[in-house]
């Protein structure tokens, strides 16, 4: 039986995200064929430095290049559209692509408001095409490791989960945001959407949201440090669970704290980050390299349990303790799952409804912070 015809891919935007998070995981995958890009500006050389900014026509001359999305969406060979533009254009482009009969992957954050997200989801239902969001951090090494521990029930009843995403004064979040908050702006939208998505993938929809935020360094109603507390159905099995999702640009640690999850049977604490982005950007490693996605053992998490749960553990004062080798980070898996969903072979993993819920949590977190109240999730 001959392999299925590759899915034609068109990408809107040719920035850092496209080059780092999408192309390395699409190109090696025989389920896909790169067809086209939308890149508004022509290739340009900086007369001062002599440097040419990255351009799709230089790097992928065999692909078509469109200057605008209208013509691009008429290209019949483009079956899957990846939207890798700035946040404010996500919803409009996603709706246009769905109306044009395409499957769609939208970069995170899905949209700038839950209302926009609802509109895009409604359009996807009408079109019958696959709509998903690039919640790639479900495929992070550390998250996959935590998820496997939760699935194996090593914690027993989980009472607390703390999920962090701290980045030490990154250039993309350290500038002055101005006094106002713009929907889609701030750290909650920028990276909170990743950790909130992880919380929802593990624990489902919350029933209440309590939010706190700060704008450190620059006075602003935008946020660059936040704490979001999620609580769950008081009549269900997660009634005692409290999940804290945090992010901050103040993080002076070599390996930032990532997860701290506690249950009656065990605790897992982990520092560090998934290695895939630095491997692509700093090491120039190919996504197909056998070392790709594997963490340095220094960042393995510590698993403590009352009964032995993993071979890496040793007995220590009545508990079993060990450095838990992290699972491989697998952004290739994101696109493998998308291909299977498009082909109807497997249920879609990253559902747009979950991402919409994440945006709703962000909206409620801001409102909660401003009112000083815990708000019901609705």
């Amino acid at each position: 039986m001959s392999p299925p015809k590759p899915i034609g891919v068109g990408i809107v935007g040719y920035g850092f995200s496209t080059r780092t998070f999408h192309l390395p995981f699409i190109l090696p995958n025989p389920s896909y064929r790169l067809v086209a890009f939308v890149q508004r500006h022509d290739a340009a050389t900086d007369s001062r430095t002599g440097k040419t900014a990255p351009h799709c026509t230089i790097d992928y001359p065999e692909a078509r290049r469109y200057k605008g999305h209208e013509e691009f969406l008429e290209d019949k060979e483009v079956e899957l559209v990846i939207i890798a533009t700035g946040h404010s254009s996500h919803a409009a482009l996603a709706i246009a692509a769905l109306k044009a009969g395409k499957h769609v992957v939208v970069e995170k954050p899905f949209c700038c408001s839950s209302q926009e997200a609802d509109q895009v989801i409604a359009e996807a239902k009408k079109s019958g095409k696959v709509l998903t969001v690039f919640q790639n951090r479900r495929y992070d090494s550390d998250f996959r490791t935590l998820q496997s521990l939760v699935d194996q029930n090593v914690f027993g009843q989980i009472t607390e989960a703390e999920i962090h995403y701290d980045v030490d004064f990154p250039p993309w979040a350290s500038g002055n945001p101005g006094p106002d908050f713009k929907p889609g702006g701030g750290l909650m939208f920028g990276i909170g959407c990743h950790v909130l998505d992880q919380a929802m993938a593990l624990f489902g929809q919350p029933t209440s949201v309590t939010g706190f935020y700060r704008s450190l360094v620059h006075p602003s109603k935008s946020d660059n440090a936040f704490t979001i507390v999620l609580q769950y159905d008081p009549s269900g099995p997660q009634k005692d669970l409290l999940v804290t999702v945090k992010g901050s640009i103040v993080s002076n640690l070599v390996y930032p704290l990532k997860y701290f999850v506690r249950g009656f049977d065990g605790t897992f604490i982990k520092h560090g980050e998934d290695p895939q982005e630095p491997q692509i950007v700093s090491e120039g490693m190919a996504s197909t390299d056998p070392k790709f996605g594997y963490e340095h053992p220094d960042t393995y998490g510590v698993l403590t349990t009352s009964k032995k749960a993993h071979d890496s553990q040793q007995e220590k004062k009545g508990k079993w303790v060990g450095n838990m080798p992290s699972l491989k980070g697998d952004y290739m898996g994101y696109y493998e799952d998308v291909a299977k969903a498009i082909r109807g072979e497997k249920e879609l993993v990253v559902k747009p409804e979950t991402s919409r819920d994440g945006i709703r949590v962000i909206e409620l977190a801001r409102e909660s912070a401003e009112l000083g109240r815990t708000l019901p999730f609705a």
């Binding site: 009472t159 704490t227 640690l253 070599v254 403590t304 009352s306 000083g372 109240r373």
Partner: protein, 373 residues
């Protein structure tokens, strides 16, 4: 040398024997003078109960409050009973003209605390609370690092006190003020936050009664403190979980603009006292290097730090812990009683701690962040 201050101790249970008498005995400025021990001593750790006079034959033993507080030679009273009787006994002591050390939690309600503070002002005697964990090795270490300025302005401070076990008194209905782990352990950690950062501007609380289920007695809590003015960017989280399976438990996770400190484990003093090690022993209060915290700063603050990543951006090292010593609590009390120094563990601070607990419970029940008043 001035004659030792005569101490009268109310209660002769685990607290008196572990947390007070060993330190009183090791200071020549204090003398164990009398006990108020109403009933037979409860058995402790499988040992048969003992009477205080079996262990301290030269001390006076009273079985009634009138006699005990009427003893004119007693100058300093130490109240080591359960929280339910703290206010009553402290009041009797102050009215009898004595200086008073009250075990934590200070009182069951902030109202009781306010009354005692007002009474203290009338009598002019010393009123202090046994916030012993200000003298813990790990807390002193954190304070030293803060004083060095190596971490810059603090933005986040997470303080934990988690136990592997559950205490028996959790789960009893109905809830009485003074019950639950916010009082039991939070009285220590909230006090540490007050000692470092002063009174907050608001309190947000969450709690669970996991073991007791229908009870409102908490065995798990989170209290979030926020601040005003120059500390408006500070965010403090105080947590306790009973039944935590982690060895060693997380204690502090503090982040400032130029550094961070993360520490696991506990101050060793309680374990050492129970094992029979005396405060005068050179190993007393000294932590094992296994539980030193990790200090990361943008400039080197301690010779133990190394330029780990090799790019000069961060200096990282295991920061040697400072010695813990509850004896210093009593040394500080002696100085205060003699008028040589002010009271270190101020009753007003402990009153604020009780107020934070009350607001923490109310916040949890109403789903609101409440202003701290």
């Amino acid at each position: 040398m001035a004659p030792p201050i005569k101490v009268g101790i109310v209660g002769y249970g685990f607290s008196a024997r572990t947390f007070h008498i060993p330190f009183i005995l090791s200071i020549p400025d204090l003398a164990v003078h009398a006990f108020l021990q109403r009933g037979a001593a409860p058995s402790v750790r499988g040992q048969p109960g003992s009477s205080c006079t079996d262990d301290y034959p030269s001390a006076k033993r009273y079985d009634n409050a009138e006699g005990f507080f009427g003893d004119k030679e007693t100058e300093l009273v130490v109240v080591t009973t359960g929280v339910g009787s703290h206010a009553e006994l402290a009041e009797k002591a102050l009215r009898a003209g004595k200086h008073v050390v009250v075990e934590k939690p200070f009182t069951g309600t902030s109202e009781e605390a306010d009354r005692l503070i007002a009474l203290q002002k009338e009598t002019g005697k010393i009123l202090t609370v046994f916030q012993s964990r200000r003298y813990d090795s790990d807390f002193r270490t954190l304070q030293k690092i803060l004083a060095s300025g190596g971490m810059g302005s603090i933005r986040e401070c997470e303080i934990h006190y988690d136990w592997d076990i559950f205490f028996d008194r959790v789960g009893k209905t109905p809830y009485q003020p003074g019950d639950g782990m916010m009082f039991g352990l939070g009285s220590h950690t909230i006090d540490q936050a007050l000692a470092m950062f002063g009174p907050p501007a608001s309190v947000t609380g969450f709690y669970r009664t996991i073991k007791g289920s229908s009870s409102k007695t908490d065995d798990w809590f989170t209290v979030i403190l926020q601040y005003e003015g120059e500390q408006a960017e500070l965010f403090v989280t105080i947590k306790t979980m009973m039944g935590s399976k982690m060895k060693p438990n997380l204690k502090y996770f503090v982040r400032g603009e130029t550094g961070s400190f993360i520490k696991f484990g506990w101050d060793p003093q309680e374990e050492q006292i129970v094992a029979g090690i005396k405060p005068s022993d050179p190993s007393y209060g000294v932590e094992s290097p296994d539980i030193y915290g990790t200090l990361t700063t943008s400039k080197q603050v301690d010779p133990a730090q190394k330029d780990l990543v090799g790019d000069g951006e961060w200096w990282v090292g295991k920061y040697p812990s400072v010695k813990g010593d509850i004896t210093d609590f009593y040394r500080d009390v002696v100085k205060a009683v003699r008028g040589e120094a002010g009271v270190v563990c101020k009753a007003e601070q402990s009153r604020n701690g009780i107020k934070i607990i009350e607001l923490g419970r109310e916040s949890a029940e109403t789903g609101r962040t409440l202003p701290f008043v």
